[in-house]
């Protein structure tokens, strides 16, 4: 066996697992997080359309709600399988982390399980219920999906927040967890603001994602009432969430300033402790650790950190933290750039929502300009970019710690040297999955468009339609709309 291992390492088959484990976790999380906003907020938009459909007897709104519930089923399915992979990866990639901290880190997940179950069952009922339940009863079966989505994401973020603020655990002298206070773990200091930031992000990003699809449709000349409504409902959700997010994000940044000064120093790229710290837009640290390039705005970082003391607010520098306990220069650059991207894109989206509100307040209608539609069409992708950037700030800014000031990432990883192989496998599989998901959603949309009201057989757990899938029935169904676009 030793001989074999030597032979393997000589052809570079045995490589340090840590960077590969980090890459794989980052990649699978980055993929999964795109589906999260849809899982959390799409149900709410669907319920708004559904409510309007019943209350005002609005067939366009009702049709939107029906179709959205079908798309939602597909994205929820993909989210469920990619989420399952994450539950494997905790152990496969970070066994030492789970072995030592599982008793604390796992607690929020025990509760998340309840919400996930609830979501899965009621999504099923809601999709089945279109033809079989009375309209209002059916509407109410959708409400638990929305509630479970919020609490489910709060639970998951609570676990992540615990990694930033590991409270509620008692350790013995050897560092083994001897006692756990579940409330202390779940309601750790970082949790309220981080959870709020993610839930609001889910509404913001989900709103822009769904809305952008209809903005594209309107740009292509489909300006009927159906498409307008498909833009107005999600965009209004996003336009409410965006200003709220500015406030929540600001609060969270100040929490980081108070509790994770090293992460904050990385965000603001502050090398030495001082007051009157400028906010540097872009720029980077060179290999000597000096700030290069960028546009400094004098005193702004100090001012934003604590407006009550203004420019004289002292911001702790990176050099206060020993080198092996703070992010590397490269990581600082990643964090700072990600921060600028999140704030920059967030601000652009905020301006877009301002445009939206101004138009509604003064003209009682959505903005008419094609430029608005173009911006709205881009807003879905931009929202995702901002969310990914924000998540990067949070995760890379915590480095080198997996559990803040308690365990380093390199001490948490598996010793398996074949991670690079699984990483490549996962990337290929997920790329295929991502592309196929988009193709399938597009195919559904095209079918809806050309075929009018379609069957419920389009979704993984839609009730089976007797005419579905069968050459036996095909002849009888030559007019079946589903076959037309193919």
């Amino acid at each position: 066996m030793a001989l074999l291992t030597d032979a393997l390492s000589s052809v570079a088959l045995v490589v340090d697992p840590v960077p590969w484990a980090r890459s794989q976790m980052a990649f699978t999380l980055a993929f999964h997080i795109i589906l999260v906003p849809l899982g959390v907020s799409w149900s709410v938009m669907t319920l708004i359309a559904n409510y309007r459909g019943i209350k005002r007897n609005d067939p366009d709104a009702m049709l939107l709600a029906q179709r959205w519930s079908k798309y939602m089923a597909v994205t929820f399915a993909v989210g469920a399988v990619t989420g399952t992979v994450l539950s494997f990866e905790f152990g496969l990639l970070w066994p030492k982390f789970m072995g030592q901290w599982g008793a604390a880190f796992g607690v929020p997940f025990a509760f998340e399980g309840i919400f996930f179950f609830t979501e899965a069952v009621f999504i099923s009922i809601y999709i089945f219920g279109w033809r079989r339940l009375k309209p209002w009863a059916h509407f109410w079966t959708g409400v638990p999906i929305a509630v479970a989505g919020i609490f489910g994401s709060i639970s998951v973020v609570a676990a992540n927040a615990w990694m930033n603020s590991p409270q509620g655990v008692t350790l013995d002298s050897a560092g083994k967890v001897t006692d756990v206070d579940p409330m202390g773990v779940i309601f750790n200091d970082a949790m309220p603001l981080m959870a709020a930031h993610m839930v609001v992000a889910a509404y913001l990003v989900g709103g822009f994602m769904v809305g952008s699809v209809y903005a594209v449709g309107m740009l292509r000349g489909r300006t009927d009432r159906y498409h307008r409504l498909g833009l107005i409902i999600p965009f209004t959700v996003a336009a409410i969430a965006t200003p709220v997010q500015m406030g929540v994000g600001d609060g969270l940044a100040r929490w980081v300033y108070d509790n994770q000064p090293t992460k904050f120093a990385a965000i603001e790229m502050v090398t030495t402790t001082s007051s009157d710290v400028p906010e540097v837009l872009l720029g980077h640290l060179n290999s000597e650790g000096e700030v290069v390039g960028g546009i400094p705005i004098p005193g702004l970082a100090s001012f934003l950190s604590d407006p009550s003391t203004g420019k004289s607010t002292v911001v702790q520098g990176l050099d206060e933290t020993p080198e092996d306990q703070r992010p590397t220069i490269h990581e600082v650059n990643v964090v700072h750039l990600a921060w600028d991207v999140m704030v920059g894109v967030g601000t652009l989206l905020f301006l877009l929502t301002l445009w939206w509100w101004v138009a509604w307040i003064f003209r009682r209608d959505m903005p008419k300009s094609r430029w608005f539609l173009r911006a709205a069409a881009a807003s879905g992708v931009l929202g995702v970019v901002a969310m990914e950037a924000g998540w990067t700030v949070s995760e890379v800014g915590r480095q080198p710690w997996i559990v803040y000031e308690k365990m380093k990432v390199e001490d948490a990883a598996t010793a398996n040297t074949g991670i690079w192989i699984t990483f490549i496998g996962v990337v290929i599989l997920y790329l295929g999955l991502g592309i196929t998901t988009i193709l399938v959603l597009r195919q559904m949309s095209r079918r809806f468009r050309t075929g009018g009201p379609s069957s419920e057989a389009d979704v993984p757990y839609g009730p089976s339609d007797p005419v579905e899938a069968g050459s036996v029935d095909e002849a009888d169904d030559a007019v079946d709309a589903r076959k037309v676009p193919l």
């Binding site: 494997f88 066994p95 880190f105 025990a110 099923s124 967890v177 756990v180 193919l486």
Partner: protein
């Protein structure tokens, strides 16, 4: 408290094995249903049967993981470190399976359906094999305690693991055939009832043979487990065998009532026997349940979460079940929902 948590964990594994197992087994029958034309009708029945339940069935697996890493973190670390390869294969298989199944329903070109269908069906066999091999590795004492890695290959390529994998595939196919008989019955499709009835018999006989061979494998390869199975777990082994025989008799004579229940009883019996045989070890002969247990604060939280789950989720499932049963016309027949 550790014992209660272990019992809940075991109940979750059993539930997953029955409902998830039936789900995987349906994929097995999809795989062996033959060409596009010949396999069309069976595949339709299978589609109808698992479409509304496959997602809920997966939640059980996540529940198992969460219970394991929260209540017995050290065991979880040892298992994932040692059994990296089969668990990775299982995870990839689950992605491929779930996504392909969802996509197969969403696309309409025969070629696309066939490709997604094949991916779905192959992974439906791969995943239970891997899980069976993992159980075999644990039960034969190949996973060391203390968050250490055992042998990355021998831990799951060994007689007990092969037995576990093959038995898992047989049992999933066996369960699924019984469930599908009932589903075909509800679709009032007599030819499909007969079709799956034949398969239920074949799978039952195969699972029985594998189990008999297994006794010899275990006596050589997993002594601790074998001793347990032949002493304190013996009543369960016998119960499982009787249930299995009863299921075979019922299905052969085309008696509708009770066959499915007996089949489930046989599978649950196998799992319970495994659990009792290796009690009170979590990892046989190296880590006991009480030694692996998380601190009491964690256990309390998990028990509360489980209680809440029972209060909230059971009614939800009942609602799904009732809605499903009450409002359907025979020709619209729906597969029955999960648990």
């Amino acid at each position: 408290m550790a014992t209660t948590a272990a019992l809940i964990l075991f109940a979750a594994i059993t539930t997953y094995a029955v409902f998830g197992g039936a789900d995987f087994g349906a994929g097995f029958w999809d795989l062996v249903a033959g060409g596009t034309k010949r396999g069309e009708r069976p595949r339709e029945v299978i589609d109808h049967a698992i479409a509304p339940v496959w997602e809920a069935n997966h939640v059980w697996l996540i529940f198992v993981w969460v219970l394991l890493w929260t209540c017995f973190p050290e065991a979880y670390a040892s298992i994932t470190l040692t059994l990296f390869v089969p668990l990775t294969l299982a995870a990839l298989g689950i992605v491929l399976r779930g996504a392909s199944f969802a996509f197969r329903k969403a696309v309409f070109r025969t070629r696309d359906r066939r490709n997604f269908g094949a991916a779905f069906a192959i992974s439906s066999v791969l995943v239970p094999y891997c899980f069976g091999a993992v159980v075999g590795a644990i039960a034969s004492g190949r996973v060391p305690a203390g968050g250490k890695a055992g042998d990355p290959w021998d831990s799951w390529v060994n007689p007990t693991s092969v037995l576990g994998g093959v038995l898992a595939v047989c049992l999933t196919a066996y369960l699924a055939a019984f469930f599908l008989v009932r589903d075909a019955d509800r679709l009032s499709d007599e030819s499909m009832v007969a079709y799956f009835r034949r398969r239920a018999i074949v799978a039952g006989v195969a699972a029985g043979l594998v189990a008999v061979v297994g006794i010899f494998v275990l006596s050589n390869d997993a002594e601790y487990l074998f001793d347990g199975l032949t002493s304190r777990a013996l009543p369960l082994v016998i119960l499982s065998a009787i249930s299995g025989l009863a299921a075979l008799v019922l299905v052969t004579r085309a008696i509708r009532r009770g066959a499915r229940l007996a089949a489930v009883g046989a599978v649950v019996g196998v799992l319970l026997a495994w659990g009792v045989a290796q009690w009170d070890y979590l990892l046989p002969e190296s880590l006991t349940v009480s030694a692996a247990a998380a601190p009491s604060g964690t256990m309390t939280a998990v028990l509360i979460a489980t209680g809440l789950a029972a209060v909230l989720i059971v009614p939800a499932f009942v609602l799904l079940y009732v809605l499903d049963q009450k409002t359907l016309l025979p020709e619209e027949s729906m597969p029955e929902p999960a648990p």
